[in-house]
Symmetry: none
Subunit: 418 residues, 2 copies
C-alpha cells in the first residue's frame, strides 16, 4: 500500500537565517526505502499554537507524521504540550522516566535540574521510545491506521530511535515491500560526471531509485531496489552495485557505505601493517580522521603536526637546505617529511601533507590551494602536486581526502604488485 | 510594528532525500533585518491541493507570506493556479507578458514553446514583478494589511526580485525598526542550566527575542533587540550582552560569535605567546581545531599525536616507569606529556590529552569517557580528570572542547596573576 508522510521540524533555531532542517533528509530516505513518500514538510518555531495547528493539519492529510525536536527540558520545548493538544489527549507523568533521568545525571556526577522533570510527561496512550543517548524520550502513537512518531531533534538521538522503534512498526503498516539499498562512494569525479556514467546503468533497472549526493570531497550514489522478496531485492541490488563498481573502477572506494577512513583502516588491518602521518596545512585533520575509527590504535601509532620550519627539521629530519631552496610547500619537503616520519616511527606506510590552505600565504607561483602529498612505503617515496579549490575549510578537507586516497591507492597497488 | 512572516517553498525535488530549502535562509535574513520574524516554513511538492491549503493557512496566520518556486511553464508548476484558488481570485491573462516572453525567446534565436503561455497568467489584482533573469514573472498582492509575494525558485531570480520590488514595500509596512543581534557562547553548562540563568535577564528586556542552541559542547545564546533607531538597538543589545556576560562569568567564552578556537587564537596573539599540543585519544582533533583559524601559524608551531606507548616515550619523553605504573590514561602520563611537548617545542603553553574514547578499552576503574587533560605553562604543570559522556565521536569532541577551555582559563588566569 502506498502511504504518505509529513515531517514537522520544531525549533526556533530552524527559522533563523543560518540553519536548515537536515533531519528530514535522512528520515525521507528511510521512508522512501519502505515505499513511503514524503508529501509535506513544516518547520515551526517554539510557538505552541502554530505547532498544534501544524500537527492537527498533518494528521488530517497524511498516514504517517513524524516530528523532530522540541523535547528538551526548557519552556521553549513545546512539543509535548502541543502535540497532546492537537491530538486531544492528556499528558501523563511517568515516574519511571524521572527515575531513569535522575540516575543518569547522578552517574555524570550532577544533580538533575528540576526543569528536566518536564521530560517525564508523555502523551496519553503513546508508547515510550527510549533514548540512551539523551534525556528526551520519544513517543509513538497509533491513531486508527495513522502513526505519529515524536522524536528528539539531535540526529544522533533520533536516528537510532527511528531505526530501532519506529521503522519496524511502519514496515508492518506498509506490507511486504523489500528494499535493498547500497551506498557507494566515489572520489575524484564531480556530481555530473558521476551521473553521466551511472545513469545508463541505474535507469536500466526496474523499481530502482537513485540519488546522487555531493559531500565536500566525494560523491555518494545511493541506490535502492524495491522487490517482493528480501532475496530478490538483495540479489538485484548487489548486481546493480557490481555493475556500477565495474564502471567506476578504482575511483569507487566504497560499495557499502564505508567512509574513506574506514576503508583505510580495513586495508591496513587486512595487511597487519601500520601508518604514520606528518601534516602541515591540514593541521591534524588527517590524524583526526584516521583515529575517528574505533580500534585505530591497531595500525596507527603516531602523527605529527609540523607547522613551523623548526618543527619540520626537529621532528621529521627535513633538511634546512631543502626548506631554504624549495620552501616548505614543495615536493622535496613533502618527500622528506614522509620519509622522515616513516623512518622515525618505524611504520610501514607514511603520508605527509604540506600546502597553502589560505586565505593568506599564496603566491603567483604557489597560489592558495597548492598542496603536495607524499607517500613513503616499502618501495620508496613519491609525491604528487594537487591544486584544490575552495576556502580554508574546504581546501583542508579536500586535502585530507586526497591524502587518504593517495594512501588507499598505494595500499591497493602494493597488493597487486605482490 | 512587529510583523510575522511565513515562507512556502514549492517543488517535489525539495521533498526528496538530498535537497533542503536553502532559499529561505537568505529571505529570513532579509526579513529579520527589518524586524520581521519568520514563524513557519512549509515545503510542499507539486501537489495543488496541498499548496492551496498551505497558502490559505499561511494567510490566516501571518502578515507576510512569501512563496518560492513552482512558476515554471510545465504542468508541474502549480503555484499560479493554487495561490489563486487559495485567495479566491481568478487568473488573468496578460498579453504584454506573453509579448515580452516571445521577444526574449526570439532574441535567443528560439521560438517560444506554447507551454510558456502559462507564465502569462497572473493572479487577479497582483502587481507584476519583472524578471530579467528568467521567464517567470513574480507577483505581489495586498490583502488588507497583509502582503503576499510569489517569487520564482532560482536564487539568482528571486533574490534581486525580492530586493528590488518586495523589500521596499515591506519596509513601508514595518516602519523604522532596527534590530541588533548578539551571539554569545557558554561552555561547561547544559542548555537548561543556561536558560535558568539567562531567562530572568533577557525576559526583563522589552522587544527582545532569544534563542538557545545546544551545539555538541557549547550552548549558544542568540539575542536580538528591536528598537526605533540603530543607536538605541545597538546600545540596548550591548547592555543585554554585558548583563548576560556578568551572569555567566568565565563560562561565557564568546560575546560576539567567536568560536572557541578563535578565542584561543586571539588570546595567544594578544600575548604574543605560543602553543604546542600532545594528543592521544583526540587523535589530532585539537590541533585540527586550533589550525582551523587562518593565521594560526603565528602562535602554533607543532603538535604530536602519540597513540602508542612508544611514541609517547620517544616524542614526548614520557618515562616508561610512568606508563608501567599508572598507565597511559593517568594524571601522571598527561603531565609528562604536557611538560615534554612544552620543553621540546619551546612553546609558552602546552596542552596534553590522554583518555579512553571507546567503544573499547574501558575498565571499571577507568570507564570509556575517562580523560586526563594537562596544562604546562610558565608556572608549571597541572592536570585535571574529566568524565565525558557520549559515543566515540562525542567523547572526542567534548574532550577537545574541555582541553581548549583548560587552555583558555589558564591564559586568562595568567593575565590576572600578572
Amino acid at each position: 500500500m502506498q502511504l504518505s508522510a509529513e515531517i514537522i521540524a520544531i525549533g526556533s533555531e530552524l527559522l533563523g537565517p543560518t540553519r536548515v532542517d537536515t533531519n528530514s533528509l535522512w528520515l525521507t530516505e528511510q521512508l522512501n526505502d519502505i515505499g513511503v513518500e514524503v508529501q509535506l514538510k513544516t518547520i515551526v518555531g517554539d510557538d505552541g499554537a502554530r505547532l498544534e495547528e501544524a500537527v492537527a493539519d498533518a494528521v488530517k492529510r497524511a498516514d504517517i507524521i513524524i516530528t523532530t525536536g522540541g523535547l528538551g527540558p526548557t519552556e521553549d520545548d513545546i512539543t509535548r504540550v502541543s502535540t497532546a493538544k492537537a491530538l486531544g489527549r492528556e499528558l501523563v507523568y511517568h515516574d519511571e522516566i524521572e527515575a531513569v533521568l535522575r540516575e543518569r545525571f547522578q552517574r555524570w556526577g550532577r544533580k538533575m535540574p528540576e526543569i528536566n522533570k518536564r521530560q517525564a510527561f508523555i502523551v496519553e496512550g503513546a508508547e515510550i521510545l527510549e533514548n540512551p543517548r539523551g534525556s528526551a524520550v520519544g513517543m509513538l502513537l497509533e491513531l486508527g491506521a495513522k502513526r505519529i512518531a515524536i522524536l528528539p531533534g539531535p540526529p544522533r538521538e533520533n536516528q537510532p530511535m527511528f531505526t530501532d522503534f519506529v521503522l519496524p512498526r511502519l514496515k508492518e503498516l506498509v506490507g511486504d515491500v523489500f528494499v535493498a539499498r547500497r551506498v557507494m562512494k566515489i572520489v575524484g569525479l564531480g556530481e555530473s560526471a558521476v551521473d553521466e556514467i551511472a545513469a545508463p546503468i541505474y535507469n536500466s533497472v526496474e523499481r530502482a531509485s537513485t540519488s546522487i549526493l555531493f559531500n565536500k570531497t566525494e560523491v555518494e550514489l545511493h541506490v535502492s531496489v524495491r522487490r517482493d522478496s528480501r532475496k530478490e531485492a538483495d540479489a538485484d541490488a548487489d548486481e546493480l552495485a557490481r555493475r556500477l563498481s565495474d564502471a567506476f573502477g578504482i575511483a569507487m572506494f566504497s560499495t557499502n557505505g564505508e567512509t574513506m577512513e574506514e576503508v583505510i583502516g580495513r586495508l591496513l588491518r587486512e595487511r597487519s601493517e601500520t601508518l604514520a602521518l606528518a601534516e602541515s596545512c591540514t593541521g591534524g585533520l588527517v590524524a583526526r580522521r584516521v583515529t575517528e575509527v574505533a580500534g585505530a590504535s591497531a595500525y596507527f601509532g603516531e602523527g605529527v603536526v609540523t607547522y613551523s620550519y623548526e618543527a619540520k627539521v626537529r621532528l621529521l629530519g627535513v633538511r634546512q637546505e631543502t626548506l631554504d631552496k624549495f620552501g616548505a610547500v614543495s615536493a622535496e619537503c613533502a618527500e622528506e617529511m614522509a620519509a622522515g616520519i616513516r623512518e622515525r616511527s618505524g611504520a610501514d606506510h607514511a603520508i605527509s601533507i604540506t600546502g597553502i590552505a589560505g586565505p593568506d600565504g599564496g603566491t603567483d607561483e604557489k597560489p592558495v590551494g597548492t598542496v603536495f602529498i607524499a607517500y613513503a612505503g616499502p618501495n620508496g617515496v613519491a609525491s604528487r602536486k594537487f591544486f584544490l579549490p575552495g576556502d580554508r575549510y574546504l581546501i583542508r578537507w579536500r586535502t585530507s581526502q586526497a591524502a587518504l586516497d593517495v594512501l588507499r591507492r598505494a595500499l591497493l597497488k602494493a597488493s597487486q604488485d605482490r
